[in-house]
Symmetry: C2
Subunit: 243 residues, 2 copies
């Protein structure tokens, strides 16, 4: 993990872009902390540069509450090498949507599963490196999308003790099966009036989660219009579970 | 409105049972307040004596945050005169459930609509009396069930500016139509694993609400197991809208 620059904001939060192998990422840490702080991994749909302002806002909020926050670029996104399988699946998806056809399981599997298979080990390796840094410790939370990556991480990565997930469409059947094995506390955000999102898939996936403590919060405001109070509720969720 | 007794708790909150005409009710007020306080009307499914401990806990929480809270007995519940129509509808409902038959619209209408027609004017008259008391002012919130009563009140009572509703089954089609006319901010609580509740009805009703700001929060814990953090989130909802 190689830090490439460092910026300190007015609120004391330090933002440090890094490269991890050939994967770009960003780490945000509180300006001052009495000791090592818990860590929140922030998922996103890919394109770190484009997502950076929104991710930075969420990360600085988390840092202000005493957490470190980190993210890495999505496989095939930004400057990372593209995958022919993913490009083909995306083309097939676009064709199906334009033709007004249902998006078949086959397309969803080819679109999502290879990304999950690649991203999850990357997140886990990045987690090893992040937890080796001074000033950062567990427990660890996962916050954001892609929800299929969050599901797999929640099942396979024992250092993640709580997950705040953003509902999304195109969830492979295999991920529904994995969702039944999730037992950590979950806080799932759904934008009820997000027309690009399949609401029923989100509700079915929430139902499938095996966790005894799971909360679904549905709000209005469209795809990117998560209301400020929903962000605060998500922060309180992590405060309850990361300490 | 005739107050029958008064009890002051350790936290300063004052609980005052009253009768309003022949309707029993309870008013809770903060121990001390710099001026008149907003009011939260607390709905419930009937049987004030049985519901009293849970209502009192919610009311004292609200009072501790600076609100007055009040409730009145449900038509036909407790010592109030029973309704032959409601008794018949309840018997028909029981028969349908025992026979494993679907509960028809006819039963739901006879079960719920007369109660709504009777209860809503009672709540509005009680609101007149409550707002005439010294130390209580608007804005007013409605919190709880029966959700059909909350819907009707949200449509017809302009002094109610925000409603925190508890999802429930047996919602008449007519109430779905009224829900489309609701425009005030809503916070709807749904116990996802409440087997006595029709989850799809709750989701459809949430979808029907016309409000631009509406939040659905679904949690685990069964019918009476609303987690403490959900109560706190609901309090913050009222704090945002009642000031």
């Amino acid at each position: 993990m190689h830090f490439t620059s460092e910026q300190r904001f007015d609120d004391g939060v330090v933002e440090r872009p890094f490269t991890f192998g050939d994967i770009p990422g960003v780490l945000w840490t509180p300006g001052s902390a009495p000791g090592p702080v818990p860590l929140i991994l922030m998922g996103h749909p890919g394109g770190l540069d484009r997502m950076r302002p929104r991710l930075a806002a969420r990360a600085r909020h988390a840092a202000a509450e005493g957490y470190a926050a980190a993210t890495i670029e999505f496989p095939g996104a930004g400057d990372r090498p593209r995958s022919a399988v993913a490009d083909q699946a995306r083309a097939d998806l676009r064709r199906a949507l334009e033709a007004g056809e249902p998006v078949g399981d086959d397309i969803v599997d080819r679109l999502v599963l290879p990304l999950v298979d690649q991203a999850v080990p990357e997140w886990r390796a990045a987690l090893d490196a992040l937890l080796a840094l001074p000033g950062i410790r567990g427990p660890v939370g996962f916050s954001g999308g892609v929800i299929s990556i969050g599901v797999r991480l929640a099942v396979v990565e024992p250092r993640i003790v709580a997950a705040g997930l953003f509902a999304g469409s195109y969830v492979p059947r295999a991920i529904f099966e994995e969702a039944r094995q999730v037992t950590i506390p979950l806080h799932v955000l759904l934008q009820w009036d997000d027309e690009g999102n399949d609401r029923q898939v989100a509700l079915d996936l929430f139902d499938a989660f095996g966790s005894k403590e799971k909360t679904l919060q549905a709000n209005m405001g469209g795809h990117t219009g998560v209301p400020p109070f929903a962000g605060e509720d998500a922060n309180r969720f992590f405060a309850r579970h990361l300490g």
